[in-house]
């Protein structure tokens, strides 16, 4: 495991064997903190093979709609760079769920799915390895 980013609101780890990035979000991210994580994911993917991403939003707070848009706009680039699938672990916070719904409505794809736990997310992503 290699830590790509470790900030107060998100830790991004890279699993070499699975070629998998894991974003673990905690609490409320300011716009700068949120975009820093999206940019770090993009930059890392440019120079490293990333086949799958888990975004664990279980403990994440609400995301500004403009930042949700920012994250959605990064998705095509990630897929161009070789991403095969992305799994979200659903947030506990109901309003963060609405944020994620906004993201999901903008990015409907068979290769992006939402799971109640990280175990189920990992299991689904195994089929892309």
């Amino acid at each position: 495991m290699n830590t790509v980013l470790n900030s107060p609101v998100v830790k991004i780890d890279y699993d070499y064997s699975r070629k998998q990035l894991v974003q673990t979000w905690t609490g409320f991210a300011s716009s700068g903190q949120f975009r820093e994580a999206i940019d770090a994911t993009l930059h890392f993917s440019q120079s490293n093979p990333v086949r799958t991403i888990i975004s664990d939003t279980l403990n994440q707070s609400v995301v500004d709609p403009a930042d949700t848009q920012y994250a959605a706009s990064a998705m095509p680039k990630l897929f161009q760079q070789g991403l095969k699938a992305m799994a979200f672990v659903m947030p506990k916070n109901v309003i963060t769920q609405l944020s994620l719904k906004q993201f999901a409505e903008g990015k409907r794809s068979d290769n992006i799915k939402y799971f109640p736990s990280i175990i189920e997310a990992r299991k689904w992503l195994e089929s892309f390895n």
């Binding site: 409320f28 300011s30 707070s61 609400v62 995301v63 500004d64 709609p65 659903m90 916070n93 109901v94 309003i95 769920q97 609405l98 944020s99 994620l100 719904k101 906004q102 999901a104 409505e105 409907r108 799915k113 939402y114």
Partner: protein, 364 residues
Amino acid sequence: MLNFDIPGVYDALDLVMRNYPDKFTPESKIEIDTLLSHCLDGLGDDSEKFLSTLYIRSLKSYIGDTGVNEHIYLKNYEISQIQLFDILSRKFPFVKAAHDVVNGIILSRMYDKSDVTILDIGIGQGTQICKLLSRIPDSAHYQHIRVVGIEPFESALRRAEFSIRQELSRFSFSTEFVGKRAFVEKLSVDDLRALLGEDPGAVIVNASLALHHIQSLEERDRVISCLRSLLPDALLLTEPNVDHFEPDFYRRFQNCYRHFYHVFQVIDRLDAGGVDKNGLKLFFGREIEDIIGRHNGDRYEKHEPGYRWVEKLNHHGFIIDRDCFNPLMEVGCGVKLTVDREGFLGFGYETEIILAVICATTSG
């Protein structure tokens, strides 16, 4: 299709309301906007989203503007006062049926009297009293009917006077209308006696959706005590059955949401178009704004549950008459009538009693 369940609107609103009134951070303002964006999507077709939008509007009037402007969306649902009045009085069961029930009881109490004074507190534009008078045949046996209307708003009182005088002019027996522009809590028992006149005959008091506007419990008690001193043959009280007197904001919000959630369910069942239904919902938004969006001292809609009005009436020596009600009456829109164990007639929808009608007397 999204492959996850969209959370219930109430759960999200509940989370937002927990921050009221002084815990709003940049994060919680984004929560409000996120929820609002969700609600505005399909607003006109979803009662719960409409209701939640009204709560958010009330919140925002307290905390100041956040990013999304709900007013321009809600403005689309405004209807004219005439349309609104028409729906409220002809179709909305809580108003229509409550008027019918109360007027029926008043008429039955008038039946064997020759000289009657009806004291209406918060007479408004006189709609209920006009309906009452329209049910009295031209050939009725009365010697004298006097209507005393107390109303704080001049324009409403003038309209009430005009309409009621028109109804009264039909009768061959003597009639009288006395209007008093005042808040009832500012009147003493002597003031009230003076309004009734020296020989008022049988006194019947009606207070429909009026007494909850009296701000303090002490004043409410004093008014009821004054009314008791008039020795009325009957006192008819109609009040929403909900605790909006509750000072704790979060508990008040929960009471308020449960109440209006059920009111909106009934509105959805009205025999009316979507424009009218949403216009009516928007009308109730003003009450929600008062209950949720104002500080305690500035609030006007301070409803108390039916049982608490019963307690006050009992305390001042009134006797609750539970036998005058006919709970089998058909109201429509899924609204069911029940006589509560406290003795009031409850207008309920599903598990919620929304409106209470109380009939009290001063003699057994």
